[in-house]
Amino acid sequence: MARARGEAFWWAIFSAGGVVTALLVPIHVLLLGFVIPFWWGPADTFSYERIHALLSHPLAKLYLIVLFSVPVFHCMHRIRHTMYDTGWRAYATPIAFLCYGGALLIMIIAVMTIVSI
């Protein structure tokens, strides 16, 4: 039986995505969910002008693209396998297509959005 090179590929992406998610996602949740609404500093810190300028920078865009690439695939890989583990194994192939296809779609939309900032 052949080596499942595809599985090695998805696991490698899952693994890289796990690292990026673990290091970067929590602070962004904190920022968006709590720091912005409860911000105690200057009034213009999260103004449209400042944030737009900040995220228009090419390095910021590159950073955001990374944030929306491997972590999305990481989540979808986990969701795919969790579905297998909770009784949906019979639909293994369509689930894999939907998960990775969905991740690709989200990544494409993200890249287009980020580029247009």
Binding site: H28, V29, L30, P37, W39, L54, C75
Partner: protein, 128 residues
């Protein structure tokens, strides 16, 4: 081997013991992280759309639903990070001679890196 009895396995097997439940909570963090990434993507779309859309979104961040969602997302994201870092020694084995190096040598740098990167991102986001 004529009538070997096969016991059925339930789809809710993961409710059966605390380790299985812990595993399932760990896996479910992916749903919350993905949901947050979609919210964050929406934030970026509103930013790209202009000041009115952006400010409208900021107002929605102060709603009770936003706090409930972001609290769940923060708990999930932190739970993902800590379970991820703590499992590093299982996947990566470093030996000094015959002995494995202590697990903490592999785990602690992850936490230090996490804290450092978080502080840097916070400063970039808020420092005028």
């Amino acid at each position: 081997m004529s009538e070997a009895y096969r016991r059925p396995v339930s789809d809710t097997w993961w409710l059966k013991n605390p380790n299985y439940r812990f595993f399932m909570y760990r896996e479910l963090t992916a749903v919350f992280v993905l949901a947050f990434l979609l919210v964050f993507l929406y934030f970026l779309r509103q930013l790209a759309s202009g000041p009115e859309a952006y400010n409208a979104f900021l107002r929605r961040l102060s709603s009770p639903w936003s706090f409930i969602f972001h609290t769940a997302a923060l708990v999930a994201a932190c739970f993902h990070s800590s379970t991820w870092f703590n499992l590093t020694p299982k996947a990566v084995v470093v030996r000094k001679g015959e002995e494995k190096i202590p697990d903490a040598f592999l785990i602690t740098p992850n936490y230090v890196g996490w804290l450092t990167i978080s502080v840097i991102i916070f400063l970039i986001a808020t420092w005028s």
